[in-house]
C-alpha cells in the first residue's frame, strides 16, 4: 500500500540540514554554462572542498553535511557570463556572491578567499559593461533587477534533481491543497480568474482550455505537455525542464486533475538530453514518494505520466501534429476543429499545455489569481520568459511582465547593443513571429499588440538585430527554416514557402525581377490566411513584417542591386581607394580573373564587369586600400 507522502516532514528535515552554518556553492548547470565549462568547475569544487570540515564556517558535528554543499542548479539566466557560480547568503548578514565566467582554475581561489576567508573574489564579480560598476549579488545586477520571475522563480536557486529540496521550497503544497480541498471546476475557475494564457504562442486562456476538456464527453482523457520547443534561438522550456522539473510536473498534475485527465505525456525533443533525464528523474522521484500514481494525497485521484521523445521536427510543436506523433503517426497537423479538448490524443479529450504554462500554475495557486493579475496587462496578465539572443550585451534567459516594452528588454535587461552598433530590429517569436523596429521600442509586448503589428509572442525567442544585419537575409533565413520544416501537407505552406524562399534568394543574390516583391507579398498573404495549421499561417510573418518596416531595404536590393547593410555577397562591389593605393601591383597579380588594371606606383582600378567578388584583393592588400561596399 502506498502511504501518503508527508510533505511537512520533508520540509522540516531539509530545513534542518540546510540550516547548518555551512557554505553552499551553486554551480549553474544550464545548457549555456555547461557549454562554457561549468561541469569542470563543479568537479573542481568537489575536489577542492574534500576534507574542508576543519574550517570554522563548516564545522559540523556528526552526520549530514561535513563539507560545503556543492550543488548543480538549473539555468540562472545570464548565459552570456557563464559559467556562473552563486554562493547564497545566509539570510542574515552574509550577502549572496555572484561569480561570472568562472573557470576550473579559479576554484582554488574561491575556496581560499570566499569559503575560508569569507571575502568575495573581486575579479570574478559581475561588472556592468557600460558603466563599469561591479555588483556583488545578482539581485542588484540590472539584468536581474529588471526581471520578475514567476516561472523561473527557483531556476538556478535549487538542485533540480532533488525532490526533497523542491518540497522544502514549498513544492507540491499547492498540489496537495488542490487535490484535498478543491474540485476540478474550482481549479479551472481560479486559472480563468488569473487570466493565464497559453505560453506556447497562441495565448489561449488556460482555464477555459481545462474546463473544455473537463466537460468534453469521452474517456479516458489525457494531459499532454508540449516540450517540443523548436524555434531557432529559443531555450525557455528547455531551461525550465532542466532547471525546475518538479515545478513543471506539479503544474501538469494540477492541470490533469482540473481537466479530468488520468494520464499524461511529456513530449520532449531528443535534442534535449538533460531535460529528458531530469523530467524522467522527477517523475520517478515523484512516483517513489506517491506524488504520481494512485490515490494522490489520499484524495482518491490517480495520475501518472511518461516522457515521449520527439525526433525534432519543428512541426511537432503544433499541437495536432504533436498528438499524431505520440500516436506513432507521421507528425502532420490535422484540421481544427475538432480541437484536442474534444478529440485529441487517440481521439479522446486532451488538454495540451506548454511547459511554461504548466510551470506558472503552482505560483498562481499559491498566491492566487489576484496576485498574478498584478503583473502584466489586463488582457495579458502575468510574466513571460524570453530567450534573449543576438546583438545584445546580456544574452540569456529572462522573465518579464507581459506588457514590458522592447526598450526595457533590450536596453535595461539586455544591456543594449554592443560594439557601438545601433539597434535595428528585434525578431520576436522565432520563424512564426515578426520583426519589430525602432518605432516599436516603446510598444508594450503582449499578445494583442504584437498580433496587431504582425508579430506574435510565440514561444518567446527574441533575436536582437543591429545595423550590420541585412533584413532581407534575416527574412530569407527564417523562410529557409520554415520551408525545411514544413510538414508538406498543405499546398500553400509547402509550395508557397518554397516559392517565397526562391524569391528571397533571388533578391539577396541580385537576380530579382521587378514585380517579385509584389508576388512575394501576395504569396505571403495567401499562405497566412489559407494555410492548414498555425505554423503555415504564421510562416510568412517574418517576410510580411520586414516588408512593412524595411520595404526600402528590399527595394534597394531589387532596384539598385545594393545591400544597405553590406551583407549580401552577391551585391558587394569591390573598389580601390586611390588615396591609399600605392600601386604595388600585388592585387593585380593575384586577381584570379584579371579584373584589376593599373600601372606600377599608380592607383589601380577594378573592372566591375569582370570581378567575381572573391575578395582575394581585399585580403592581400597591405595598405587596406581595397574594400567591399
Amino acid at each position: 500500500m502506498m502511504t501518503t507522502v508527508n510533505l511537512d516532514r520533508i520540509v522540516k528535515e531539509v530545513d534542518r540540514r540546510l540550516a547548518r552554518p555551512t557554505w553552499r556553492v551553486m554551480v549553474c548547470d544550464g545548457t549555456g554554462c555547461v557549454a562554457s565549462g561549468s561541469r569542470l568547475v563543479h568537479q573542481r569544487f568537489l575536489d577542492s572542498t574534500e576534507g574542508l570540515d576543519g574550517l570554522a564556517e563548516v564545522k559540523l558535528s556528526g552526520e549530514d553535511l561535513c563539507r560545503p554543499l556543492i550543488s548543480r542548479t538549473g539555468c540562472h539566466g545570464l548565459c552570456q557570463m557563464g559559467p556562473l557560480v552563486v554562493i547564497p547568503g545566509d539570510g542574515g548578514a552574509r550577502e549572496e556572491i555572484f561569480y561570472c565566467r568562472v573557470t576550473a582554475d579559479d576554484v582554488p581561489e574561491i575556496v581560499e578567499t570566499t569559503l575560508k576567508g569569507g571575502q568575495p573574489v573581486e575579479r570574478l564579480l559581475y561588472r556592468d559593461p557600460r558603466t563599469g560598476t561591479t555588483y556583488r549579488s545578482s539581485a542588484v545586477i540590472p539584468f536581474y533587477a529588471n526581471q520578475t520571475r514567476i516561472a523561473l522563480a527557483d531556476c538556478g536557486h535549487a538542485e533540480p534533481e532533488d525532490i526533497e529540496e523542491y518540497i522544502a521550497r514549498g513544492g507540491y503544497a499547492a498540489l496537495r491543497r488542490v487535490l484535498t480541498e478543491m474540485k476540478p471546476e474550482q481549479v479551472c475557475e481560479e486559472l480563468t480568474a488569473s487570466g493565464l494564457r497559453g505560453r506556447g504562442g497562441a495565448g489561449f486562456p488556460t482555464g477555459r482550455k481545462w474546463l473544455a476538456t473537463l466537460r468534453a464527453a469521452g474517456s479516458p482523457k489525457y494531459l499532454v505537455c508540449n516540450g517540443d520547443e523548436g524555434d531557432p534561438g529559443a531555450f525557455m522550456d528547455r531551461s525550465l525542464m532542466e532547471g525546475d522539473p518538479h515545478r513543471v510536473l506539479e503544474g501538469a498534475i494540477i492541470a490533469a486533475y482540473a481537466s479530468g485527465a488520468g494520464y499524461g505525456y511529456f513530449y520532449i525533443r531528443t535534442e534535449y538530453p538533460l531535460a529528458l533525464t531530469r523530467m524522467r528523474k522527477a517523475m520517478a522521484d515523484a512516483r517513489r514518494l506517491g506524488i504520481l500514481g494512485e490515490n494522490l494525497f489520499g484524495s482518491g485521484y490517480a495520475f501518472d505520466c511518461e516522457v515521449v521523445e520527439g525526433a525534432g521536427a519543428f512541426v511537432c510543436g503544433e499541437e495536432t501534429a504533436l498528438l499524431a506523433s505520440i500516436e506513432g503517426e507521421r507528425g502532420m497537423p490535422r484540421p481544427k476543429p475538432p480541437f484536442p479538448a474534444e478529440s485529441g490524443l487517440f481521439g479522446r479529450p486532451t488538454v495540451v499545455n506548454n511547459v511554461e504554462t504548466l510551470a506558472t500554475v503552482r505560483w498562481i495557486l499559491e498566491r492566487g489569481a489576484a496576485a498574478f493579475r498584478r503583473h502584466g496587462t489586463p488582457r495579458s496578465p502575468g510574466t513571460k520568459t524570453f530567450a534573449l539572443t543576438g546583438k545584445v550585451r546580456n544574452t540569456g534567459l529572462i522573465e518579464v511582465p507581459l506588457g514590458a516594452t522592447l526598450r526595457q528588454i533590450v536596453f535595461e535587461v539586455g544591456g543594449g547593443v554592443p560594439d557601438g552598433r545601433k539597434f535595428k530590429a528585434a525578431q520576436i517569436g522565432g520563424p512564426s513571429g515578426g520583426c519589430l523596429g525602432v518605432e516599436h521600442l516603446d510598444m508594450p509586448l503582449d499578445f494583442e499588440t504584437l498580433g496587431q503589428v504582425g508579430a506574435m509572442v510565440g514561444s518567446g525567442g527574441i533575436v536582437i538585430l543591429d545595423d550590420s544585419t541585412c533584413i532581407v537575409e534575416v527574412a530569407r533565413f527564417f523562410m529557409q527554416f520554415t520551408q525545411h520544416e514544413s510538414c508538406g501537407k498543405c499546398v500553400l505552406c509547402r509550395e508557397g514557402t518554397r516559392q517565397m524562399l526562391w524569391i528571397l534568394q533571388d533578391i539577396v543574390e541580385g537576380k530579382a525581377q521587378p514585380g517579385d516583391i509584389e508576388l512575394l507579398e501576395q504569396t505571403a498573404r495567401a499562405v497566412k490566411v489559407a494555410s492548414l495549421c498555425g505554423l503555415g499561417k504564421s510562416a510568412p510573418n517574418p517576410v510580411l513584417s520586414t516588408l512593412t518596416l524595411f520595404r526600402s531595404e528590399y527595394l534597394a536590393h531589387v532596384e539598385r542591386l545594393y545591400c544597405p547593410a553590406g551583407v549580401c555577397e552577391a551585391l558587394k562591389t569591390f573598389a580601390i581607394d586611390p588615396d591609399l593605393c600605392k600601386g604595388c601591383t600585388l592585387c593585380l597579380q593575384k586577381c584570379p580573373v584579371g579584373a584589376i588594371q593599373g600601372d606600377k606606383r599608380a592607383p589601380h582600378r577594378i573592372d566591375v564587369a569582370r570581378c567575381t567578388k572573391c575578395g582575394v584583393c581585399a585580403t592581400i592588400c597591405r595598405f587596406k586600400a581595397i574594400a567591399a561596399r
Partner: protein, 680 residues
C-alpha cells in the same frame, strides 16, 4: 439545442437547408456549386490539404469547406476577390511544382489538375518552375508511380490505408521534398502492394498510373502469325461507355465486340464463360466442404488482390481459399488448350488478351502458377482505359458502331456469369448452382436480395433444403481484414465468404474509368443486375456450351480432370525475398538424399540454431553421411516461438535438439544405409 438538421445556412446570399450534411463542401455542392478539390473524397477521412475548397465564413474568415461543419445561421460565401486570388495562386503553386508533360501523360484526358487550370482560367504561372526530376518507380507489374506529377493530396495514401487496410504508401521527408512513397524508398513492386490499383483510381493526376500493355497487344495483332483472342470481363461492359461520354452504367458490350473485331482481334470471348466455369467448380468445392465441414468458411478466390493479401498476411487461411482459378485464368487455360486443337494451329500462336476492370489481373496473369508448358495462360491484360485508348487510336466512333456478338462457344455466358462484375455477384451465382445441387432445380432463379447492395459487409442466412448457409459478402480489403480477424477470433462464423478488393467489386475496379462518386458505381451495379435479368439463361449450370465442355473433356465438376485444368494452388508470401544458404554441397544424387533445412532466423538463432547447425555438420561428416545429407540454412519458418525449427524432408520439426535431428536423419537415411555409416 437545435439539431443541425433543423437549420439553414446562408450560401452566397441564399438560404440553404443543412439537412444531413456533415461538412460545408458537401452542402455547397448539393446547393449546386461545384467547388474544386483534390483531397476530399466521401469515402476517405477528411484531410484538408489542397486548400482549394476554401470559402469565407462570416466571423471566421477563410476556411476549407471540407473541414468545416455547417452550423445553423452560418453565412458562407464561395465568391470573393480574395478567394479567387488565393485559389488561382494555389493552382499556380501546384502547376509550378508539376512536370507538365501533359501531351504524353496517360491521364491527360482525366487529369483534375488540368481541369482545375482550365476552370480557373490560369493563363500563366508567375512562379518559378521546379527543375528537379525524380526517378519513376517502374518496379510494379501493374502500376507506375511518377513523383514528378504528384500533387501530394494524399488520396492514394488514405485509400490504401483506410479502404484497403494495406498502407504501403505514405509521406516521407519534409518541406518541398515531401514525397509519397513506399517505406524506405522501395518500389511498389517490392512491397506488400496487392495491385488493387485503387491508389491510381483516386489519383487526380498521372502520378499513379496503370502500366499499359497496349503496345504488346498491338504487336500481337500486327503479327500475321498470331491468333489474337480477347476475353472481356463482365464489368467492362458497364464502364467502357463512360469514357466515350455515354451515361454511367450503360451496357455497351455489342460496341465493344465490334470495336475489338475492327481492331483486328481474331476471336472475342466472354470472361463470363470463365465465370460460369468457376461457379460450377467453386460451387462443387463449396458443397463438398460444407458437407464435410472442412476448411470453412470457404473464401472466394476470383479477386487476385485478395488472394495476395491472404498469401502475405493470413497464410493460415490458405486452405480456406477456393482452389478454383479465377474466371480470367480458367478461361485463358481452357482456350489455350482447346483453340489450337479446334483451329489446327500450334499453341504458341494463340495470344490471349483479357480486357479487365482491374489492375491486379495484370499481376495474376504473371503468377508462376498461371503458366502452362512454359506459356502464360493469359498473355496480356489491358484495362478499360487502355482499351479506350486503342479504340481512339484506331479512329473508331464507339457509340456509332453496329453492335456485334461474341464468338461461340466461349462467348456464351449466363446471367450468373455476368453477376461476377459486382460485389455479391459471385455469392449469388454460386448459390444458384448450390441451390440446385443441395435442394432442387431452380428454373427461374430467386434473387438473393440479402447479398445485394453496397454496404461494406453484408451477411445473410440462406436456407437451401434442410441446410441453412451462413454467408458474408465483403468488399474493400480493410473491411475484409476486419472480417478475417473476427473469424479467426471466433467472433463470426460463416460457411461462404465472398471478398472483392475494390469498392463495389469489379464495377469499382481500378481498371475502370475513374468513378468520381459512389453513384457511378451504383449505376454500373444496377446495370449488371439488369443484364442478368435480360439474358436467356441465368444459371451457370444451364450454359449449354459449358455442359459440352464437361461432357467432352472434363467429366463432372470437381473431377480430377477439372481440377487439373481449372484449379490452382497458393503459397505463403509472409517473408519476402527469403534466401537459402547451401551449407554442405557433397550430396550424391544417385542415393536418396535427406534434405535438412536449419532455420537461422533471428528467433531460432537466439534459441541456439547456429550452434545446432555447426554440430550437425560435424556429426554428419564424422559419421560419413556427407553424400547422403544435404544441409541448408534457411530463414524464418514462422514458428518462432517454438524454435529452433528444422525441416527434414519437408517435415517441420520444432524445438529441435541435435539428438532429435540426428535421430530423424538416421531414420530417414534408412535401415540399410545407417549401419554402413555408423560402422566406420
Amino acid at each position: 439545442m437545435m439539431k443541425p438538421t433543423d437549420g439553414t445556412i446562408v450560401l452566397d446570399g441564399r438560404m440553404v437547408p443543412i439537412g444531413d450534411h456533415v461538412n460545408l463542401l458537401d452542402l455547397i455542392r448539393a446547393g449546386g456549386i461545384d467547388l474544386p478539390t483534390f483531397c476530399y473524397h466521401s469515402d476517405l477521412s477528411v484531410y484538408g490539404a489542397c486548400r482549394l475548397c476554401i470559402v469565407e465564413v462570416e466571423g471566421r474568415g477563410i476556411v476549407t469547406s471540407c473541414t468545416t461543419r455547417p452550423e445553423p445561421g452560418m453565412v458562407v460565401s464561395t465568391r470573393s476577390a480574395r478567394l479567387r486570388d488565393i485559389r488561382k495562386l494555389t493552382a499556380e503553386l501546384l502547376l509550378a511544382n508539376h512536370d507538365m508533360s501533359c501531351p504524353t501523360c496517360t491521364r491527360a484526358g482525366s487529369c483534375q489538375l488540368r481541369r482545375l487550370a482550365e476552370r480557373l482560367g490560369i493563363d500563366r504561372i508567375r512562379f518559378r518552375q521546379r527543375q528537379e526530376r525524380l526517378p519513376l518507380d517502374q518496379s510494379s507489374i501493374s502500376l507506375i508511380r511518377d513523383p514528378n506529377k504528384c500533387v501530394l493530396c494524399g488520396d492514394c495514401v488514405r485509400i490504401c490505408r483506410e479502404v484497403q487496410g494495406i498502407g504501403v504508401l505514405d509521406f516521407a521527408n519534409r518541406g518541398s521534398k515531401v514525397q509519397v512513397t513506399p517505406a524506405f524508398g522501395q518500389g511498389l513492386g517490392e512491397v506488400e502492394c496487392v495491385h488493387c490499383g485503387q491508389c491510381a483510381s483516386v489519383c487526380p493526376t498521372g502520378a499513379l498510373a496503370v502500366r499499359s500493355q497496349v503496345n504488346e497487344v498491338w504487336a500481337a495483332i500486327h503479327d500475321p502469325e498470331r491468333i489474337v483472342v480477347a476475353q472481356v470481363a463482365p464489368a467492362v461492359r458497364v464502364g467502357v461507355g463512360e469514357a466515350f461520354g455515354l451515361p454511367p452504367g450503360e451496357s455497351h458490350i455489342g460496341q465493344t465486340v465490334a470495336a475489338l473485331r475492327a481492331m483486328g482481334f481474331d476471336r472475342v470471348y466472354d470472361t463470363g464463360f470463365g465465370a460460369d466455369l468457376t461457379v460450377l467448380e467453386e460451387g462443387t468445392e463449396f458443397v463438398r466442404r460444407y458437407r464435410a465441414r472442412k476448411d470453412l468458411p470457404l473464401f472466394t478466390s476470383c479477386c487476385p488482390a485478395w488472394v495476395k493479401l491472404v498469401e502475405q498476411w493470413y497464410p493460415q487461411l490458405l486452405n480456406n481459399l477456393s482452389t478454383c482459378r479465377s474466371p480470367q485464368q480458367a478461361l485463358g487455360r481452357l482456350i489455350k488448350r482447346e483453340l489450337p486443337r479446334e483451329m489446327g494451329v500450334a499453341p504458341e500462336k494463340i495470344f490471349m488478351v483479357s480486357i479487365m476492370p482491374c489492375t491486379a489481373k495484370k499481376f495474376e496473369a504473371r503468377r508462376s502458377e498461371m503458366v502452362t508448358d512454359g506459356r502464360p495462360d493469359v498473355d496480356a491484360v489491358i484495362t478499360v482505359p487502355e482499351l479506350v485508348q486503342m479504340i481512339a487510336e484506331s479512329g473508331l466512333d464507339f457509340a456509332g458502331l453496329e453492335p456485334d456478338r461474341m464468338d461461340l462457344p466461349y462467348g456464351f455466358k449466363t446471367g450468373a456469369g455476368v453477376l461476377f462484375g459486382t460485389t455479391g455477384g459471385v455469392t449469388e451465382a454460386v448459390l444458384r448452382y448450390a441451390a440446385e445441387v443441395m435442394a432442387k432445380p431452380l428454373g427461374r432463379p430467386p434473387a438473393f436480395h440479402k447479398v445485394r447492395g453496397m454496404e461494406r459487409l453484408r451477411e445473410a442466412e440462406v436456407e437451401l433444403g434442410d441446410d441453412k448457409l451462413r454467408l458474408a459478402v465483403v468488399h474493400g480489403l480493410a473491411a475484409a481484414q476486419q472480417l478475417v480477424e473476427d473469424v479467426l477470433a471466433g467472433k463470426r462464423e460463416y460457411d461462404l465468404v465472398e471478398v472483392m478488393a475494390c469498392p463495389g467489386g469489379c464495377v469499382g475496379g481500378a481498371g475502370q474509368p475513374p468513378a468520381r462518386t459512389p453513384s457511378v458505381r451504383e449505376a454500373r451495379q444496377a446495370s449488371i443486375y439488369q443484364t442478368d435479368t435480360m439474358l436467356q439463361m441465368r444459371n451457370s449450370q444451364d450454359n449449354p456450351y459449358l455442359q459440352r465442355v464437361y461432357a467432352d473433356t472434363l467429366g463432372e465438376p470437381g473431377s480430377p480432370a477439372a481440377h487439373e485444368l481449372l484449379h490452382t494452388h497458393y503459397h505463403p508470401r509472409r517473408r519476402t525475398g527469403a534466401v537459402e544458404v547451401e551449407i554442405s554441397g557433397g550430396a550424391d544424387p544417385s542415393h536418396r538424399v535427406v534434405r535438412v533445412e536449419v532455420c537461422v532466423g533471428t528467433n531460432c538463432h537466439l534459441r541456439g540454431s547456429h550452434d545446432l547447425l555447426h554440430r550437425l555438420i560435424d556429426h554428419v561428416n564424422e559419421r560419413g553421411w556427407g553424400h547422403l545429407v544435404d544441409i541448408t540454412a534457411t530463414f524464418c519458418n514462422e514458428v518462432c516461438e517454438r524454435g529452433p525449427a528444422v525441416r527434414i524432408d519437408d517435415e517441420l520439426h520444432e524445438k529441435c535438439t541435435l539428438e532429435m535431428v540426428l535421430d530423424r536423419v538416421e531414420g530417414a537415411i534408412g535401415a540399410e544405409e545407417a549401419p554402413v555409416a555408423t560402422s566406420r
